[in-house]
């Protein structure tokens, strides 16, 4: 009761503290949301292209931050292997799309329109690429640049008709766009280059050849199973931007702890006479630390409510302003953040409670 009362004795301070901690919670939730969004978005293209095998240039482990160059000749070798089918060439390029008054980079994906793999994971508006003059864009990219189905964009000298929008193709810092393999190859003036191939084992050949044996069959390549290749790309992404997000989230937690410790300590100092009176009157051993923990819990509880109240509208607003910033927030995330903040609250209480030791009952006689 007393713990809460003295918080309300300084309503502005209480509101500022709740606001400060609440914003830290929003920041942490937001970064975790981005983490999940990036983690899912960056590899969704690979996850959804469920080919048995990914064949890359030797020494390449991923497509997010690796360069793989194979020739169409590799494709012929692969097609000649009796164990494989559904050979699907893919060419990935960083390209700049020119719009009416601006330009923006995409992760351009050229794929064989007749092959089963390489295309957009999911078309949510319009339809997939049917010919060399069409392009499918990521929905967040389209929203950001106000593009609609039927609009025309330019890739070098080629005018392409926007025929569809895809999801699962937002890698946060860049978005995928899809054109025919021929169009992608014509952009680099090398009609016999691809980045990689997707392929399936024939039904009766699944256990006949290992990826390593397949690599030996096609010189200059490395072959990954779908699971292994997905893992490689997730690991690559996690070693890139994501540690930075973690670092900022960690800083947010530290700031939260510092704010809370400061406020609790200031309260103890301001109300030290009250604490001295309580000590003099015989407060039991754990009573005063309990007050501080109660205060801390109440502040954090209010801040969590405030943070959650603010978080979802804020995410909506941000996705309107910057559609490419995709956040995914689950109940698990929220529970994790509540647990982390609860732990920080205990740490803050611990630091503040130490100040109680220096308050003496004798002070009531001053």
């Amino acid at each position: 009761m007393y713990a809460i009362k003295i918080l309300f004795h300084q309503p502005y301070r209480y509101l500022l503290t709740t606001g400060g901690i609440g914003l830290c919670i929003v920041l942490i939730l937001f970064l975790l949301g981005i983490y999940r969004g990036v983690a899912d978005g960056s590899v969704e293209y690979i996850r959804q292209n469920r080919a048995d095998l990914w064949i890359m240039q030797k020494n390449t482990t991923n497509i997010l931050r690796g360069t793989s160059i194979l020739s169409t000749a590799h494709g012929y070798v692969l097609r000649d292997l009796p164990e494989l089918e559904n050979i699907s060439p893919i060419l990935l390029l960083l390209s700049t799309i020119k719009m009416e008054d601006k330009e923006a980079t995409v992760f351009l994906t050229g794929y064989d329109l007749a092959a089963p793999y390489g295309g957009p994971p999911e078309i949510i508006q319009g339809q997939s690429v049917r010919n060399d003059d069409e392009i499918v864009l990521d929905i967040s990219y389209a929203e950001k640049h106000d593009l609609e189905i039927g609009d025309t964009v330019h890739l070098n000298s080629y005018a392409l008709n926007v025929c569809g929008f895809s999801t699962g193709t937002n890698a946060f810092v860049i978005q995928y766009a899809f054109v025919s393999l021929q169009r992608a190859q014509s952009l680099i003036d090398f009609n016999n280059l691809v980045t990689c191939y997707c392929a399936d084992f024939k039904a009766d050949s699944k256990n006949l050849l290992s990826p390593r044996e397949l690599s030996d069959e096609v010189p200059g390549t490395v072959v990954y199973t779908h699971e292994k290749f997905l893992k490689n790309n997730i690991r690559e992404m996690e070693s890139g931007i994501l540690p930075l997000l973690y670092a900022i989230a960690a800083i947010g937690s530290v700031v939260l702890t510092v704010i809370l410790t400061l406020i609790l300590s200031i309260n103890i100092l301001e109300y030290r006479k009250d604490f001295a009176i309580m000590k003099a009157l015989g407060s039991p051993k754990g009573y005063l630390p309990g007050l501080i923990i109660n205060q801390s819990s109440f502040l954090v509880g209010s801040a969590i409510l405030f943070g959650l109240f603010l978080f979802f509208p804020m995410v909506k607003l941000i996705s309107k302003i910057s559609p490419e910033i995709e956040t995914i927030t689950s109940t698990g995330h929220i529970i994790t953040v509540i647990l982390v903040v609860g732990m920080m609250s205990l740490i803050s209480s611990f630091f503040s409670i130490r100040k109680l030791r220096k308050i003496y009952p004798l002070e009531v006689y001053e």
Binding site: D274, L281, S283, K285, Y365
Partner: protein, 224 residues
């Protein structure tokens, strides 16, 4: 020995600051029993408050022994001392020392809480104590809304709420007008007499002599 609550035997308290020795009290022997109000009388700095803080166990004597409720106070653990303060000793201070953030009722309930009373018991007892002191109407007021005299009545109500055997009152009338001061002293005296408790009042106010059952004069840290 029957009814003896406090006994100090050749107690001294010397403060050492920067190789300077200041005597709080020197070689004091003193006792107090239930049913009496003892006035510790002396000018400021004469050692009467030091004696109260020694009896409360806030400080330890440099020499001598203090028996509180027939046990050497130095043998008490901190937890035991806290428990004794919460259940057997009531405190009245010159500047009242009420908790400003709590209303009168909660101030008294807090003390009862320290004494280990249940929520319901706290509420019932606090109401009863306020009624006994004719200040029930102040229950919902905050200390900042009370007069000085009302604050001290509340402080006394708080001190006796746990049925304290011993009340340590430090200059309880110093912040009050004389009329209010006498009223407060009468309350403390009544409590000692009617409830068979011991009240130790430290004061420099000679006018309180008439209300005390016994007077102990202090000067320069000694009883004279």
């Amino acid at each position: 020995m029957n009814g003896l609550l406090v006994r100090a035997e050749q107690v001294s308290k010397i403060y050492n600051t920067n190789s300077h020795h200041t005597a709080g009290v020197l070689d004091i022997s003193f006792s107090a029993t239930a049913g009496e109000m003892v006035l510790l009388l002396g000018p400021s700095g004469s050692g009467k408050t030091t004696l109260l803080t020694l009896i409360a166990g806030f400080i330890q004597p440099t020499a001598g022994q203090i028996l509180l409720f027939n046990e050497d106070i130095q043998s008490y653990s901190q937890t035991k001392l806290q428990s004794i303060r919460a259940t057997k000793i009531g405190f009245v201070f010159q500047s009242f020392r009420l908790i400003e953030a709590l209303n009168v009722l909660k101030n008294i309930e807090l003390c009862l809480h320290f004494g280990g009373k249940s929520r319901e018991e706290r509420h019932r007892t606090a109401r009863q104590v306020l009624k006994n002191f004719d200040i029930e109407h102040l229950a919902d007021r905050y200390p900042g809304q009370l007069s000085q005299g009302e604050k001290q009545r509340v402080a006394i109500a708080r001190a006796v709420a746990n049925d304290a055997q011993l009340i340590l009152a430090d200059e309880p009338t110093a912040s009050l007008e004389s009329g209010q001061g006498f009223e407060i002293i009468r309350l403390l005296h009544d409590y000692a007499r009617k409830e068979n408790k011991c009240v130790l009042v430290a004061s420099h106010d000679l006018r309180l002599k008439d209300y005390a059952d016994r007077i102990v004069n202090f000067e320069n840290g000694r009883i004279v």
